[in-house]
Symmetry: C2
Subunit: 499 residues, 2 copies
């Protein structure tokens, strides 16, 4: 086999893997958006077959030989191919350590867990979901043991979502955040609370949908390639490549702000994905490099852009057009203050920027202890509630607004949550860098997203997974990651909103 032949084979292999991804993703997407209620078991049967086929393809002798051959000749490969080989070899070496039956069983478990979690959340019934969650944590533990027995299991989990991330880093990062956030919250508590009544009223679903499409257009999403649907828990998914991207939202009839920021958050994910260089499509480098870089983009658009004064001024006329009765006599400044109201609350996805990281810390703490064997899954609701009291001062009334609120665990993800906090902090530092060359505030207020999107595309999006998160950060920032940018950003915002 020549290197040229091997490279062609590598591209064909990635196209196949992308096709299986497409099939699995769309079955997942359909299950969450359109599928009749009784069809989860049917999806499970198909997904178990497809994941088995993909497993075979990804770990076959032929694939391993191809990758080892290319790896042995890596000095003759250009950077892009070298990175593909590196990522796929890492995957294959890890996959090979997991017995196929266990891999397939885990996929089937997740289909079932998704269905049961939805029902458990509806009825606030943790016990219904508990056996599945136990199995999900147990599987994560087992897989960690197979793949990285030298590591603490939770360090393995963290590394899955952010190459190189460890509990040590997280502990330090969260401590620094806590030191910044807790006094800030204490200061705010002394001030009169911001009036956020502007967000509440009667906002028909159809009008909110119109707003959602308008927002997608406004922030620069190409709706020929990005679709919008409705789900219980908003998410973003690529189908096969970044040429077909779907985001979802959830409309609350009495509060238009929930869907608004879901759309902008998921829109940020979709901008990142669809911004991949065309040549990366149908390869493992397509889309984003890591969860935290992904969250840095989604939360950049949601918060740094979306909760800025300029953005509130930009969207206010549209709100007045769609909701004339509710917006009568209101001002953009009222909207700005309302969407930046900082206050401990129960639901992570609806939390303000200041308290958001406290929600993450609760989850981080709990995952860490379960994975260390220090906490049983059955005790999660109690500990969840205890930590919400300790960190946020709140009583959790039921598991629906507590331990059952997120879809991550039912989706099999343990170790994902810290990415949200990291991503938020990256975003603040990106903003500082972007402001060196772009009039960010002016652009947002004018609704001219091109300079902002161009900057992100140039520095972040187009690279897909070409660089490691650390390399990418280094290239973008020209220096080390520094959480103090984020803390300074939050302090500035609070000073402005609370005077």
């Amino acid at each position: 086999m020549t290197i040229t032949e091997a490279k062609e084979q590598l591209m064909r292999l990635q196209r196949k893997l992308a096709a299986y991804d497409h099939a699995e993703s769309i079955i997942y997407y359909d299950g969450n958006t359109t599928a009749p209620k009784g069809t989860a078991a049917n999806r499970g049967v198909t997904l178990s077959v497809l994941s088995e086929e993909r497993y075979r393809l990804g770990t076959s002798e032929e694939t391993a030989e191809l990758l080892e051959f290319l790896d042995a000749n890596r000095d003759e490969l250009e950077q892009k191919t070298r990175r593909m080989v590196h990522l796929m070899l890492k995957d294959i070496r890890e996959m090979k350590k997991i017995p196929m039956e266990e891999y397939v069983a885990f996929q089937e478990l997740l289909v079932k867990a998704d269905d049961v979690w939805h029902r458990a959340k509806e009825t606030s019934d943790f016990e219904l979901f508990r056996p599945l969650l136990e199995e999900i944590f147990a599987t994560n533990l087992r897989f960690a043991g197979y793949i990285a027995p030298e590591k603490a299991p939770y360090d393995f989990c963290l590394d899955q979502y952010e190459e190189g991330l460890t509990m040590e880093t997280c502990d330090r990062f969260f401590a620094e955040l806590r030191e910044g956030i807790v006094p800030l919250l204490r200061e705010i508590a002394q001030k009169p609370q911001v009036d956020d009544s502007i967000r509440f009223g009667d906002f028909p679903r159809q009008k909110q949908e119109e707003l959602a499409f308008w927002l997608m257009d406004t922030i620069g999403l190409d709706r020929a390639h990005v679709g919008l649907s409705t789900t219980e828990h908003p998410f973003t998914i690529s189908l096969g490549s970044h040429f077909d991207e779907r985001i979802t939202t959830n409309y609350h009839r009495d509060d238009f702000v929930c869907s608004l920021y879901s759309v902008v958050h998921e829109g940020g994910h979709a901008l990142y994905d669809t911004g991949s260089a065309e040549e990366l499509a149908y390869t493992v480098l397509d889309g984003g490099v890591s969860m935290s870089i992904h969250e840095s983009q989604s939360r950049f658009y949601e918060n740094i852009i979306g909760r800025s004064r300029g953005f509130c001024r930009l969207i206010f006329p549209k709100l007045r057009e769609l909701f004339p009765a509710d917006m009568a006599g209101r001002t953009p400044e009222e909207l700005y203050r309302a969407v930046n109201r900082a206050e401990p609350s129960l639901i992570r996805t609806e939390a303000d920027e200041v308290t958001y990281c406290l929600h993450i810390m609760v989850r981080y703490e709990l995952e860490k202890r379960v994975m260390a064997g220090e906490l049983a899954v059955k005790d999660l609701p109690g500990e969840w509630n205890r930590l919400y009291k300790e960190y946020l001062g709140l009583d959790v009334p039921d598991d629906r607004s507590g331990v059952l609120q997120d879809s991550h665990w039912s989706g099999g993800s343990v170790g994902y949550f810290p990415s949200y906090a990291l991503g938020s902090a990256y975003g603040a530092q990106f903003l500082a860098k972007m402001k060196e060359t772009v009039d960010v505030d002016g652009c947002v207020e004018r609704g001219d997203f091109s300079p902002i999107n161009d900057w992100n595309r140039e520095h972040i999006w187009r690279h897909g997974a070409l660089y490691t998160p650390a390399e990418l950060l280094d290239r973008v920032l020209g220096g080390p990651f520094d959480p103090s940018y984020y803390i300074a950003y939050l302090r500035g915002k609070c000073a402005d909103v609370y005077k």
Copy 2:
């Protein structure tokens, strides 16, 4: 290999094939219901990979050996397994005659054709679609030559949708129909035309959707396993097995009758599919046996049941509830006469029962001539329009209401249309048989569909593809198929409606 092992392997193989079916079907379904406009090419890439993988799986040496082994031991197999082996061997023997590149290229062509057809229909631009349609007919011709060089190509096409069907049979069948229908139409033309103004008005989409769900419940569809979406051209599709079935409809704001009968027609398909015995799921025997038996069910529910006086009486109170202004002062009898108005029209799917078969004859005639090399694709619009003038006395104003109206050709299907007419005729004979033991009219008027559905399930649905269409007909009817039932049924209906 023992026979037991071989049988287990056969079931595993069919599960895999069903999983690929699921993936391909849902990508098709998504493309028609939800996908953003610019994503067809992306679906094409995935479908070409998946169809190639499925082709390999279905035609591999291992598969062929397994099937030949079982076939050699067929005396030791129970009927169900014997039938599976027969159908799969037939497929594999046919598939092996098609070069894989051509098979894959055809799948890619169809994805593109679907997209282009939608655009061509929107703009009534046959030229846009022509090159793709030429390629579709050419591919059908080529495949017919590979698989059954001894047959006339169009006979091969007919056989694909109805085992054993030939042009000779069709010519005879259509001649008999023509002899019955043409004088009937002439008689009707002498009578005062029926007033169908009840169907026109302003029917909000949401109310029509509510009606659709109510109709699904009323005719006995299990909505935990049957979903409803909206598409340009209504269709029914199974995803992986009969446990997940999707039907679609198309709402016309000014005429509620279109969607009403789309739902009942597609609902008939879905009843048939979901009525398969549970043990047939994930096998090639799951779902219906042939297109004409399928159409016998869909058109049974749409016309024989759905356009009966009893059904109009049954649904009228619901219509009055949903559309109080438009239904004020109207009667069920007006609805009954309106939905049975017989009159030459342009669109097949909206045609009345009497003229419907004339629409089919046009398509049959054209396909037959194109496949015989007697008609060029570029001349299809002209010939289409000429035949509509000859058979139905109508001028076709544009290709959107003419040659571009159906999705069958863009979906690659040539030889499908005669099934509609055959199915209609089967249905009338099934009705006569059913009436020997079931009070059909009474059940419909009471909204008690169980005895009707039970009869169909017992005699037709549960068998899936266990029997050939001919065997099934023989079992149901206890005698030969006889089109005169259908002609008598149409005469009776017309006599009643037109007095």
